[in-house]
């Protein structure tokens, strides 16, 4: 199948390889771009057995911080692909800690030998800022920071840190992390070297990348959360029963999951955070959040009508 030539001009297209990035402003911003992958920090699986006691081994170390369950999911993915992994949560999920794979170390201190950091906060922007500031101070200047950028753009996040060239946005939501593709959003500061490292890192954990523009919601979170919001409006208007909505979309429109089941799996608080960010960023009525969705995100009560109904 031959593709039409109708493509936006500014974007880049790559699958697990970097083809192009806007770097004029990058070069201006960064007088001296550090070499991001020295031999010492090269992101390859080491043969040497990993220490179970600390984050000190010859393997490349990934530090993952942010919200559950994404932190555990990325940690499991990285450790399964041969990395050393240290993690920290914004709010530790007590029941999860015992189910982590052996070797995943919980540490609020960012190890000095960290090769790459992943920040996974979508809901609490202040916590995200704090995490990024901490990472930027503690990490070696060669270590890239992959930061979920669906509720605030990666470029805006760069304003919080020194070493802006290190930060690259990714689309992270629960249910996305075990997939074989990840959306990556370079910022206006991102140099080619960082993208190359990021691309190589994702390849080593079994993921291809799709480079998209750095916008709130990126691609799939924006599409999916709008679908879920529409389902919430339909429930509010009593158009169909929640179970029937899922049935309609899976049986009639070939959705892999109904929007309500999907929202449950992602987490209503995450969906609400994405929709709030979209509404704030785009300032359009079409992104207005269904009141029932807001109430349920706040209360954690799922699709139950009030007594007034």
């Amino acid at each position: 199948m031959k593709r039409n030539k109708k493509k936006p001009e500014k974007n880049t297209k790559t699958t697990a390889k970097v083809t192009k990035t806007s770097s004029k402003s990058t070069k201006k911003e960064i007088p001296k771009t550090p070499s991001l992958l020295t031999e010492k920090h090269e992101l390859q699986k080491a043969e040497v057995p990993r220490s179970q006691e600390s984050c000190q081994s010859d393997k490349a170390l990934v530090y993952v911080v942010g919200e559950a369950p994404m932190v555990e999911q990325y940690a499991e993915l990285c450790i399964a692909h041969g990395y050393d992994v240290c993690i920290s949560w914004n709010e530790p999920p007590s029941e999860k800690q015992n189910t982590l794979s052996p070797g995943i170390i919980i540490s609020s201190t960012v190890p000095e030998n960290t090769s790459i950091a992943i920040e996974l906060t979508n809901i609490d922007v202040l916590a995200k800022k704090k995490n990024l500031e901490k990472l930027a101070k503690a990490l070696p200047e060669t270590a890239p920071i992959l930061s979920s950028s669906i509720t605030i753009t990666a470029t805006e996040q760069c304003a919080w840190i020194v070493g802006k060239y290190r930060l690259v946005g990714i689309a992270a939501l629960p249910t996305f992390i075990d997939k074989l593709l990840v959306e990556v959003a370079p910022t206006i500061y991102t140099p080619m070297e960082t993208l190359e490292v990021v691309s190589r890192f994702f390849l080593t954990i079994g993921k291809e990348i799709e480079i998209v523009q750095d916008r709130v919601g990126m691609v799939l979170p924006r599409i999916l959360c709008r679908v879920i919001n529409e389902a919430a409006f339909a429930i509010t208007e009593d158009i169909a029963a929640p179970d029937d909505i899922d049935k309609a979309l899976t049986l009639g429109m070939h959705f892999p999951l109904g929007p309500i089941e999907w929202a449950e799996q992602i987490g209503l608080d995450q969906v609400y955070a994405v929709l709030t960010a979209l509404y704030t960023d785009l300032q359009e009525e079409r992104y207005r959040i269904a009141p029932i969705l807001k109430q349920m995100a706040m209360t954690g009560v799922w699709w139950k009508q009030s007594l007034a109904h």
Binding site: L181, R215, I223, R226, I239, A248, E285
Partner: protein
């Protein structure tokens, strides 16, 4: 009980429903104004039944009996005795209103009058009938033989008896019926619409290429087809007409607003697979 089913319109949907009903041992009166269309419809059904026999899904000896359950008609009064009449004609509200007005007069008073419309209001379709309580929507999905969902759409005046019968008969045809209120796009089309409109906006805002968006939706979202592949498949003009219809019926709800890209493409003749060019180029596949 559904003994005799009348179907008005022998296009793709009408033909599919006729086949389903005949396979469910229901006598079918298949009406169309055009005899050629009726002949083609029967030939399509025969071809499909032969395929089923070859696949072992239908005993050979049931072929003739199944075909003989379908009688073709070119006069509407000939289907007046049916227990249920399912309309499957052009998506034009004026044409449908006229038809239902006619059916209302020329069918037995207990018959259920159902429309397969995917985007028009059942309440509007029933507006010119004397008995709107027996008018209902039965929105089948394409391809009707394989997609099991039927949206049973309750119009403003549809009564409970009509609703219950429509649900029972949809199950008799082997379908999974769900009850839906009569609102623009009903449920499946309305809720899936943001997937397409948001994909178009992402494209319009240069966030990603169509090809990238499809790739992301498939590989991360787990969909079998991306939004642009689906739009090309259904036809850009059809997608535009449907979204415009929903937008108009909702009196300009911003969430349902069509995207200008669809209009520009439709006006440029980039209609998707049927014109060999849409969001993708299919010329080499010809």
């Amino acid at each position: 009980m559904l003994k005799h089913l009348g179907i008005v319109g022998a296009g793709t949907m009408g033909t599919g429903i006729a086949q389903l009903a005949a396979l469910s041992k229901i006598d079918v009166q298949l009406y169309d104004v055009n005899e050629t269309i009726l002949r083609r419809s029967i030939e399509r059904i025969k071809a499909d039944l032969r395929k089923m026999i070859n696949l072992g899904k239908l005993p050979h000896e049931e072929f003739n009996a199944t075909v003989e359950r379908i009688r073709t008609r070119t006069s509407l009064p000939d289907i007046g005795h049916c227990d249920c009449i399912i309309e499957s004609i052009i998506e034009d509200i004026r044409v449908k209103k006229d038809l239902f007005k006619h059916l209302d007069v020329n069918t037995k008073s207990t018959a259920v009058l159902a429309s397969t419309t995917s985007s028009l209001s059942i309440t509007s379709i029933a507006a010119l009938t004397r008995n709107p309580e027996r008018v209902i929507g039965m929105h089948f999905f394409h391809p009707v033989n394989t997609v099991s969902l039927v949206e049973v759409v309750k119009g403003y005046k549809t009564n409970t008896e009509t609703l219950e019968r429509a649900i029972e008969w949809a199950k008799l045809l082997g379908k999974n019926p769900i009850i839906v209120k009569d609102t623009p796009g009903f449920i499946a089309n309305r809720i899936s619409l943001p997937m397409f409109s948001e994909a178009l906006r992402l494209l319009g805002e240069n966030v990603a290429y169509a090809e990238q968006i499809d790739n992301i939706v498939k590989k991360i979202g787990g969909f079998s087809a991306g939004p642009f592949e689906t739009l090309d498949q259904m036809g850009i003009d059809s997608a535009l007409a449907e979204t415009e219809s929903l937008y108009d019926q909702s009196y300009g709800e911003p969430r349902l607003r069509p995207h200008p890209i669809l209009k520009q493409m439709a006006e440029s003749g980039l209609l998707g697979k049927k014109s060999a060019k849409g969001f993708y180029n299919y010329e080499e596949m010809k």
